[in-house]
Symmetry: C2
Subunit: 476 residues, 2 copies
């Protein structure tokens, strides 16, 4: 049974594909804390591997910090963390004993990490330091939860760096942008890199860069952020180093993170009514093999499939054959399609006779008969094609969502119909941003960070001088 | 500055090596919840990779289940979990709101996983199922905490399986034993595989197998467990399948886990007064390269070191050169030694002239001059030698700790002096086990599971008929 069409009912399609695509099971007894199923978990593990390689190449180190954060730490930086407080889960009891000081479960790890950094950093030779942590994060959002989009427990990577000079922190922000863009490009995602407006900057940060991916329902999803923290946390957590002249100096800091939200973007941007479509590099199964059984040739077909599977595995591909005789070939096709397997290979008696293999692309559905001896060569090429095609289609989705809008009424109409991303001018006043939010449920997401853009006219709301060319969209 | 001798003051040595070997920093504000530092974290990641390969080869799937467990689940299986209750951390508040039902942080994941299994399993074709989870675990032990040995938050792998037939569960227990033994052997650990006595069986399990590693202070450390759960959890969580005759049947279950405790065993069994000694396969840095600078040849030496490092990396080795001129070669030697780097390569002007490289083994300290063109060949061999030597030395430690003891007074003496592992006979009565515990602080760890052993005389305590040949030791 096919799924709903993602374009006609995104919400229903998304809920269904999570379970049938083996990504998430939300039927847990705890709202917003779900099971990440094998297909979803394995994609996340490949994302982890990809980022770990990037981190290693740029001298980041992996470490693990405690889940618990003492209340006193959050109080100390309450100015920064006001926004998190309503979402913090508190451990107040152990067994039947009340704790003297209650413990927060990390909604993010600045406080506990920077407490350690203050102990680790002595002098300039200890800088820069760049640590990354893979961890579960707890944010007991009171709004409606949605798997991967808005979870109360989710997985993420958070990197936190310290530098001697402010310009090094600026460079570090750029390095993180390169790392994340490499990841998102490899995943075939489209996205905008924007600098958030002041009112939407991470509390305590000088400025925040965010990566917004378009979803097919016309909304956007923040799939990553980078913050230049300046010295504000360094002041609160006393992170100091002795410079070459023997003087004590505060460090400059950055932090950046991506979470399992990236999985939601992969699902939503690439999927169709047959299920998931996964980028080959990150697919838990890259090649699904299906024998087409006919009575007389069953054994030969089975052997041919098993030989090919072995050969592909040896060549480093994640190949899986489904040789069960109790399921039809059609059922197996649908199953591999639902799970997003990029390439399907079929062998039947006719293929055997012709010494060929039928190759089917998940993204386009195209079929081609491939000479047995060419299979590996063709797969290599098709995988590159699929990755490029996914990226191109995702870029198209983004392009189609972008609308140059200079009139507030037109913006209201857009956001109440197809939705999308409006490119408009803004005076920079919070009042106008609030006005937009109230009237359209959309947010000013920010100005482009990857390219320079100048305002082209007056503010879309108040018609005063436009100071920023901004991107406006409804967000998850 | 060298460490203390591990044999003269294990406790002091262990605390020191954790920080200086870049394994754990326990200077956090939360007792028993520590920072796993890069060297420690990276070893844990290689253990994860090793087990994931084993799991994949044996059709286990990785998934992730929620950290939170509803109170009702723990109450439902209170019979099994009585032992955990005093250690459970409870989330009772979110922001400033009290929760209606408090949430436990997983002390282990049977309840939440089996609740999902009951929804997933319909008929016999769904069996067996074998899921593994990598997760952080919370046990607020009230006893003295010790990094990696007894933590309130730690990392682990827990696998949970369901089967149609009891004999399949028995086979699964054996499969898990093979997997864990492969891991421990690869890590060069020595260990006993024992079946725990009834009074020390995991609550709810038919029987428990445990892996006890010797530590150099004469105690043992449980580094893994496997439980045959029978049907007791299946009954409580209603995990049923429809068999081939259409009848509803309860599944049979097993579960098994290893945690970051394994890191403690690696440190304690292999380390010496110069620091860690890591098995090559799992070492974050396998080869440390140090240039021996002399004024006139500095550039040549540096280039030679960099070329060799590149070559080794290309060959797949984790190689790291320390070419900083502000540190002495001696300082760098000590640093690589402290972190357990298995092989050190040095190049100085004389080596350059002879077209050779000096190779130093971390485990034996042996030095040999190697022809430049033979380096990779020799490294390959030396790594195998080091792995074998570590395993041999660890086996020696275990052998030296084993004592055939048939007299209670002799047992008391052993446990109050050098400690060790006594092999004795036991009648099977709890009273005698309690007597041993009281008089010697040692536990009956169980009977050997990997080999068959029969009692050789009367019970060491009551002198009644000996029914079990048991291993007795003080444990962490």
């Amino acid at each position: 049974m096919p799924l709903d069409n993602p374009k006609s009912d995104f919400s229903k399609w998304y809920s269904e594909i999570l379970l049938r695509g083996d990504i998430v099971d939300a039927r847990t007894p705890i709202k917003g804390a779900n099971v990440i199923l094998p297909n979803g978990y394995t994609i996340w593990e490949s994302i982890k591997r990809f980022l770990d390689q990037q981190f290693e190449a740029t001298d980041h180190k992996n470490a693990y910090f405690p889940l618990f954060i003492p209340e006193e730490f959050l109080l100390r930086e309450s100015e920064h963390f006001e926004g998190f407080v309503p979402e913090v889960a508190w451990v107040t009891r152990v067994g039947d004993r009340e704790l003297n000081q209650k413990l927060a479960l990390r909604p993010t790890s600045e406080t506990i990490m920077y407490h350690m950094y203050a102990q680790w950093i002595k002098d300039h030779s200890d800088l820069p330091i760049k640590y990354n942590q893979w961890a579960n994060i707890i944010r007991m959002d009171t709004k409606e939860t949605r798997p991967l989009l808005r979870d109360r427990e989710f997985q993420w990577s958070e990197a936190h760096t310290c530098h001697a000079k402010p310009e090094e922190a600026v460079e570090q922000v750029k390095e993180s942008m390169l790392i994340y863009q490499a990841l998102f490009d490899a995943l075939g995602l489209s996205y905008l890199v924007v600098r958030r407006p002041k009112f939407d900057t991470f509390p305590g940060a000088d400025y925040s860069i965010a990566y917004d991916a378009p979803l097919t329902d016309g909304r956007v999803l923040q799939i990553g952020t980078t913050h230049n923290l300046g010295q504000s946390f360094a002041k609160v957590f006393h992170i100091k180093y002795t410079d070459k002249d023997g003087k004590s100096q505060l460090v400059y800091q950055t932090c950046y993170g991506v979470s399992t939200r990236v999985l939601a973007a992969i699902i939503a941007l690439h999927g169709d009514d047959q299920g998931l479509i996964l980028p080959p590099k990150f697919a838990p199964i890259q090649i699904g093999l299906v024998p087409i059984f006919f009575k007389e040739d069953s054994d030969l077909v089975k052997t041919a499939i098993e030989d090919l599977t072995k050969e592909l595995k040896k060549a480093g591909y994640k190949a899986k054959a489904d040789i069960r005789e109790s399921y039809t070939a059609g059922w197996k096709f649908a199953e591999f399609e639902m799970k997003g397997v990029p390439i399907r290979l079929e062998i039947g008696p006719r293929d055997l006779k012709n010494d060929s293999v039928m190759l089917v692309r998940r993204d386009t559905g195209e079929k081609q008969s491939v000479k047995r001896s060419d299979v590996k060569k063709v797969i290599k090429k098709v995988m590159i094609d699929i990755a490029q095609n996914l990226k191109m289609k995702a870029d198209d989705i983004l392009q189609q969502m972008l609308h140059q809008i200079d009139d507030f009424e037109a913006l209201k109409k857009l956001m109440s119909t197809t939705r999308g991303i409006a490119i408009s001018n803004w005076c920079g006043e919070d009042e106008c941003a609030e006005n937009i939010k109230e009237e359209t449920s959309a947010d000013i997401r920010g100005v482009r960070e990857d390219i320079e853009e100048k305002p082209t006219g007056p503010c879309i709301v108040c018609l005063e001088e436009g100071k920023f060319r901004v991107y406006i969209a409804q967000a998850y």
